[in-house]
Symmetry: C2
Subunit: 459 residues, 2 copies
């Protein structure tokens, strides 16, 4: 006989948890777990140890899994071996953040505002949602909801999850989930929750061109000397029409799977506010100002971006040197059924045709992911959001890439539900990132419901 959710106890639990939630989040945010920065190794390890201690304090069995890179943290809330098992994925590493005038508060100083906003790098991506899920699991465990919950907390998500697959493979016998929940994405808006059934993949690469031993005086050699920065500009503008976003690399779109009529119909349910989208991400200008086109361009279509060009004199003044070397950091977001490695080869071949001396080096890949949105777990997630937030969610694909999803999908062919708690205005990867108590508290309720709902067993 399975116990029902005691609504008033849940309410009290959420209210009483706020202080501790804030203490946990604050401590965790103030450790700069920047996986991309090798100088932060100690902080990553410190963050992992702290997270493991939270799991223990909340009643779970905590486990640090060693990898070739940074450790992965597992947290087991054990019920009976007959009960279903849910794996929940989060990551506790964060994007780089350099204090600058863009940050109104120091990125690694946790700040709570009067209106329940939690400021700091990593608050929404993904430490806040991870802790909300932890509190939900504690409640479910204490209430005896018959479900085994396995937390999987990664420390290398922001660098493309290079050791994640090996790590979960090594622990597969312990984990063997019946379903998977991933929390690492954002809703459409505060009023429009979303459940994600598809995400884009990613391929990042670096283009390098070296034409001299050292920077040279443009007066003395200008005209005869090659300018690698100007040549990379040419290469990039032959890869992409930046005004339309159209990628010019031949074969690039060949394997793009077109959205089905059913998918396009789901899009119509979304009252996509261009204004809100721009405000949330701080965008002044867009390539297109039409809601449907924006959703298609960011969720259903691939991109080519340049993220940085290095070369020449980096100071604020102009030093009229001709750079000896230039480097372009590029990425493509990919959609089903594009293959990241195939796309890399297409980029490489394309660049070789334009400028054979440019070296293109693969940096990282993540496969795109796509599932159905009609299954029972998706329905359970939908009901859970209605319970937790009193809002009706839509099913969408999303533009970002979550490396762990493809890895888990290939290892465990079980349903995966992507149910994030973040909002666009929280600022994933942006300055002034924040999370908030309404999303955390609603999230705890949502997850308790979800645990309860799927613990019954899904037909």
């Amino acid at each position: 006989m399975m116990p029902q959710i005691n609504i008033s106890r849940l309410h009290n639990f959420v209210t009483e948890s706020r202080k501790l939630f804030e203490r946990y989040l604050g401590e965790l945010v103030e450790i700069p777990t920047v996986s991309a920065d090798p100088a932060r190794e100690k902080d990553i390890l410190k963050g992992a140890a702290l997270a493991a201690s939270y799991l223990t304090e909340m009643g779970a069995r905590a486990e640090l899994v060693r990898t070739e890179g940074y450790p992965m943290i597992l947290g087991h809330f054990d019920a009976s071996s007959d009960d279903p098992t849910l794996a929940i994925y989060h990551h506790l590493d964060v994007q780089p953040a350099t204090p600058s005038s863009d940050w109104l508060h120091p990125p690694f100083k946790f700040t709570t505002t009067m209106d329940g906003h939690y400021l700091g790098r990593g608050t929404t991506d993904d430490k806040g949602p991870a802790l909300a899920a932890l509190f939900a699991a504690r409640f479910a465990h204490e209430e005896g909801i018959p479900i085994n919950i396995k937390f999987i907390w990664e420390m290398e998500e922001e660098i493309g999850s290079p050791h994640f697959e090996a790590a979960i493979r090594s622990k597969s016998a312990d984990l063997h989930p019946d379903s998977i929940l991933v929390q690492d994405d954002a809703w459409i808006s505060r009023q429009k929750p979303s459940i994600t059934y598809g995400i884009r993949g990613l391929m990042t690469a670096i283009m390098t061109l070296t034409t001299a031993e050292r920077d040279a005086h443009s007066g003395l050699v200008g005209g005869a000397a090659r300018n690698p920065l100007a040549e990379l500009c040419q290469v990039i503008s032959q890869c992409l029409d930046p005004l339309t976003g159209r990628v010019k690399i031949s074969g690039f779109y060949d394997k793009v799977r077109k959205p089905t009529p059913q998918e396009l119909k789901e899009l119509e349910k979304i009252d996509f506010q261009i204004c809100e989208f721009k405000k949330a991400h701080g965008l002044r200008l867009l390539r297109v100002e039409e809601a449907r086109r924006i959703m298609l361009a960011t969720w259903y279509e691939p991109t080519f971006e340049v993220h940085g060009l290095v070369g020449g004199y980096p100071g604020s003044e102009i030093a009229s040197v001709i750079p000896h070397k230039a480097e372009a950091k590029i990425s493509t977001r990919l959609v089903p059924d594009q293959d990241p490695v195939e796309i890399f080869e297409l980029v490489k071949d394309h660049v070789a045709r334009i400028n054979p001396e440019v070296v293109v080096k693969l940096d990282s890949t993540l496969a795109p992911y796509l599932t159905e949105f009609s299954g029972p777990y998706a329905q359970a997630a939908k009901e859970a959001i209605v319970f937790g937030f009193d809002l009706e969610p839509v099913f969408i694909r999303e533009g970002l890439s979550i490396g762990s999803v493809a890895s888990m999908q290939s290892l465990w062919p079980v349903p995966i539900v992507l149910l994030g708690l973040s909002l666009p205005e929280h600022g994933y990867h942006a300055p002034n990132e924040y999370f908030d108590w309404p999303q955390a508290s609603g999230g705890i309720k949502t997850l308790v419901y979800y645990f309860h709902r799927i613990s019954k067993g899904i037909a």
Copy 2:
């Protein structure tokens, strides 16, 4: 009755001067007189005071001329008011230099090698030549050579000489030269001295495009968000074909004065070694590998260069953000009769047609300069080099820009001779810049001869 040069006394003077020359140069180089860096203001003032003290120690009247920016230093070696007056121009500010793996020695630590090389930022551009001229003037003065020598030492050459014209105008009554000597350029090679009769002008500008308030996550907004860095790449590749160097801006070449048959004939005297040129500037690859084309492209033709692109994440890893703002630092080297401000307007109009949201801001301008190479001062300079170095010079135009030349030419319509002492391998504006004693000592002799030769009065 004018005294002749006492060759053996000159010889002894040069030999005995070496120690003091090295001390002066060392002290001066170790003051980082980087005019482009506002944080170096104190160093500029310290350098100016030190230079003035050298003038006094060598027997000149020193004078610091205040400007709206950094002071200019004058040094007067007075003969009689009936004697001709020569103004000699140098600058004592230097290019920025950041210690890096490219610098084998710290840029602002003066180092003397066994073979008489003087290492450090500013050794050849232009502190070493300035001090060589100072020693020559001291000898000429002590020997009673009847010539008034007026040193003009600028501290703002590397930032485009913004206050030079006003400064010399304010002192024009004191200076009123009969001819001008400028030392701020390099020979063809150690074996092939050159006298410069034309230099290119310069126009530097900054292109800026802002499309958002802050950098955004390319997964969340990629496809719809504009990428200002990619757009600037497109703009630049529509300004320049980087593989040929051809500038695509309409009207850009309209006012270019073609070299005369006589000028082209002078080029034939130059045994231009592509290998040496590449080695001197550390260039591995060139746009053209033909000597005549290289000389034309670097000395007689205008250029368009991009010196740096700012935007996105500056670290060494890839952060897949879409920059909110991008900035391109560009310049054009200009030849007679191109006008820098007209060229800026052409660039601006061209960019506005490609991408109207890109803001193009003028940073600095320098007019190109061109004179004849058949006059008596040019001949005197030629004889002086034969005397000082036992080498036959050629007359060339040069690729670099010297702002002071245009200013002096407009204020004092008298002959200007550009007779540098630097060599290509000394590395103007490059890491590991150096000067050397053979060029300094030969330079002292050359200038003593030149002072003597023109003191007779030129027909």
